[in-house]
């Protein structure tokens, strides 16, 4: 048994951390949150040059062919730096489903352009009446001469305003089970009939409402099989959960370090507040819980990278890590007192992201049933 990252992973970790420390300071993150585009094209270019966009894309499609755990290492650093941009949506919600469900032709066409930074991707799943279950997906895809016509509304679509392509989870048939009859389409974002609106969100992370009005999609743009898309989307949700956990672990570790550093400096009653037991105990609890989050997340990421079945481990990782990140940021606020609450101080970047990450891709309640079944409850 070995719990450590490989040499290569450690190098990747250090390179990423060093790059982001210099090129993604919190000041920039703050600016990006108020920026029209919501990302830094300069950073996007550097990320491309460093091979980050193609990290899990096989070499034959222009990437570096690294594995899911390697991606996790990188995302942990992005989480630590609270990076804002369409990296997650492009790589996790775009490249990974394409790799998983795409035809050879689709992979040859799209993946190299993702690896070289040319295309930004996103995925639209949630709807006004639908969360992360299949049964409620209502956006309709009706067949016609050339392919399909899409009608409906999607919500919480990250970076739809910038994306070149949007993966759309649509209903092509009504069957007894909601999961049957779902099809995934790769839709050109510039198609006629698509309109989008950026929602004002807690993290200013460009989640959009996207309305599809008679949007034509050629049938070659079906990703995977007709009516059989849900299994692939479930895998996409699982991978998104785990990669989100990696970001959360990075963010949580950063928060812990910030908090400990503050505790050593801030003096009240003639001594650093870090010498008070209440504060020490809060910090000890945070540190222990974060270590746990790192382990369950690494386990899930590693198992995915090895192609091992791990539905239970993924559910455990997202349940625990989402809850931990949220509660340690809350604890950190408590420890910091008023200063932590100001926009000048950096804690708010993390506490907002913690909540958003917790409720996205399923919170602990969502994954509970997977866990219940996983432990053998009938």
């Amino acid at each position: 048994m070995n719990f450590e990252f490989s040499e290569e992973q450690l190098v990747l970790q250090k390179t990423a951390r060093d790059y982001l420390q210099v090129n993604c300071p919190m000041k920039l993150v703050g600016e990006l949150e108020n920026d029209k585009l919501g990302y830094s094209p300069a950073m996007w270019k550097s990320m491309t040059e460093m091979g980050w966009l193609g990290i899990v894309i096989p070499e034959e499609y222009g990437g570096s062919g690294m594995n899911f755990l390697d991606l996790g290492v990188l995302l942990e650093e992005m989480g630590r730096a609270a990076v804002l941009g369409p990296y997650f949506s492009t790589v996790v919600l775009g490249a990974l489903p394409l790799l998983d469900m795409g035809t050879e032709e689709q992979k040859k066409w799209f993946l190299p352009k993702i690896a070289n930074g040319e295309l930004i991707f996103t995925l639209s799943l949630l709807e006004p009446d639908a969360r992360y279950g299949a049964g409620d997906v209502r956006l309709k895809a009706t067949p016609d001469k050339e392919g399909y016509t899409l009608n409906g509304t999607k919500l919480f679509v990250p970076y739809a305003h910038l994306a070149d392509y949007i993966l759309v989870v649509a209903r092509t048939a009504h069957k007894e089970k909601g999961e049957d009859g779902i099809t995934v389409f790769v839709v050109d974002a510039k198609s006629r009939g698509i309109s989008h609106k950026e929602l004002k969100t807690m993290c200013n992370d460009k989640l959009c409402e996207v309305i599809f009005e008679d949007v034509a999609v050629p049938k070659q743009m079906i990703l995977g099989e007709l009516d059989q898309g849900w299994a692939g989307i479930q895998r996409a949700i699982q991978r998104a959960s785990v990669t989100s956990c990696c970001e959360m672990v990075g963010g949580a570790q950063q928060v812990l370090e910030m908090t400990v550093s503050y505790c050593k400096q801030r003096v009240q009653f003639g001594r650093p507040i870090g010498s008070f037991q209440a504060i020490q105990h809060y910090c000890a609890n945070m540190a222990t819980d974060i270590d746990g989050a790192r382990l369950v997340t690494s386990q899930a990421a590693w198992m995915i990278s090895q192609g091992l079945k791990c539905d239970l481990e993924i559910a455990v990782a997202k349940s625990w890590t989402g809850d931990v990140y949220r509660r340690i940021t809350a604890m950190s606020h408590q420890i910091h007192g008023a200063i932590g609450f100001t926009m000048d101080y950096n804690l708010h970047f993390y506490s907002r992201r913690a909540k958003a990450a917790e409720v996205t891709f399923g919170d602990a309640d969502f994954w509970q049933e997977t866990i219940a079944l996983g432990i053998g409850l009938s």
């Binding site: 037991q277 000890a284 222990t288 369950v296 590693w302 866990i371 409850l377």
Partner: protein, 401 residues
């Protein structure tokens, strides 16, 4: 990174399962009560403990991880983990809870590391053979978490140390053969510097053991009084004044063992609760279909997985710093308490029924386990102390003094 067991390790686990299931069955047939959800209480029955120790010692199970030069098989860390986890899963108490045979797991390795050749020859063979049961004398009425305030003194008089004082909460002292005793040999400005470790034959004149019954009328703990007990000076382990550092190592070893044992027993407990829920009806519906029960058990499964990985990782770290063991102790002990509590919600009013009574589900184990559940967050280093260690040694927060 590699988080699964190899084929060989899986085969070893099957071997352990085989051995422990036969073992448990034999013991149960011989009136050993499986009372706890997380452990087995042998009623501090000396005969039962000794018999178990002998059975475990046969075929070398007790000394699996010992160096070959002392008769062990030097099994890998992972195999040791598997062995202890399976012992916990099969609720074999001897390796952890009763501690009586703990001599095998941390006392012996420290005798190997710090002992004289004479001490090794004297203690290792009988301990490894299950013939020498140990207890450890740490706590005193005035020295619990404040361990360094211990007062039991050992004064050198010619060729003997003369021990006077009182220890408390000593598990298994009422039947142990020898005692791993923390004494004060010098009064120093820095309290930690005057502590020494003596190996004491419990048959030495002047030692009196008084039982301390706890919840359930359970007898495991004792007060031990030392009245001018003369112990040969050769029984000093290491050097005078070196006791505190040896004890630090002992505590780390003890904790790493306990955690793995509990990982096994918690896994078993969750399985039993799931099985109970799957087979118990309340009116027309199955308990397992109650969303609140599903939720509670799912939450336990999540925390269990966290605990398992924390404990596994600690086990696989060579010489981990103290505070890493503290994190595991903190998390696992809190989880034990939560799990014991959760079990009572699964059973509802039935959780009140004691072992041996009619209608008691799961052998009354839930009642027993809940009543005992206040102990783990306190014993072997209270969780408040552990948090202090994590904060100060682990995170570098300043001392509060």
């Amino acid at each position: 990174m590699d988080l699964v067991f190899s084929q060989d390790e899986q085969a070893f686990r099957r071997q352990c399962k085989d051995f422990f299931s036969k073992f448990s069955l034999e013991e149960q047939n011989d009136c050993w009560r499986v009372t706890g959800l997380l452990d087995t209480f042998t009623e501090g029955d000396a005969l039962v403990v000794r018999r178990m120790a002998k059975k475990l010692a046969k075929d070398g199970w007790l000394t699996l991880s010992w160096p070959r030069e002392y008769g062990g098989q030097e099994v890998s860390t992972t195999r040791r983990l598997i062995f202890l986890e399976e012992a916990g899963y099969h609720r074999v108490p001897i390796l952890s809870i009763d501690m009586g045979v703990g001599g095998m797991l941390w006392i012996s390795p420290l005798i190997m590391a710090f002992g004289t050749e004479k001490q090794k020859k004297e203690h290792l063979p009988p301990t490894g053979a299950g013939d020498r049961i140990w207890c450890s004398g740490y706590s005193e009425p005035e020295a619990g978490s404040d361990f360094l305030s211990l007062k039991t003194q050992a004064i050198l008089d010619g060729d003997y140390y003369v021990i006077t004082g009182q220890k408390t909460w000593i598990t298994a002292a009422h039947f142990a053969d020898w005692c791993w005793l923390a004494v004060r040999t010098q009064k120093k400005a820095k309290k930690s510097e005057g502590i020494s470790l003596l190996l004491v034959d419990m048959k030495t004149p002047g030692i009196e053991v008084k039982p301390i019954p706890t919840t359930e009328g359970h007898h495991s703990f004792n007060e031990v009084f030392f009245e001018n007990v003369r112990v040969p000076k050769e029984n000093l382990l290491g050097k005078e004044g070196e006791g505190w550092s040896i004890i630090g190592k002992a505590l780390s070893l003890e904790r790493s063992v306990n955690f793995i044992h509990f990982i096994g027993s918690m896994r078993r407990a969750i399985e039993e609760l799931v099985n109970y829920a799957n087979h118990t009806r309340h009116g027309s519906s199955l308990l397992a279909h109650d969303p609140a029960i599903r939720s509670k058990l799912a939450n336990m499964a999540v925390e269990f997985e966290v605990a398992r990985l924390l404990a596994y990782k600690l086990c696989h770290s060579s010489s981990p710093p103290h505070h890493e063991a503290s994190k595991v102790k903190l998390f696992v002990s809190d989880l034990i308490a939560k799990l014991a509590n959760t079990a009572t919600y699964v059973l509802g009013p039935y959780s009140q029924l004691s072992p041996g009574t009619t209608w008691a589900p799961l052998r009354g184990a839930v009642e027993y386990t809940y009543s005992m559940s206040f102990a783990p967050p306190i014993g072997a280093g209270s969780n408040e102390i552990e948090r202090g260690i994590i904060a100060k040694s682990g995170l570098g927060l300043p001392t509060d003094r």
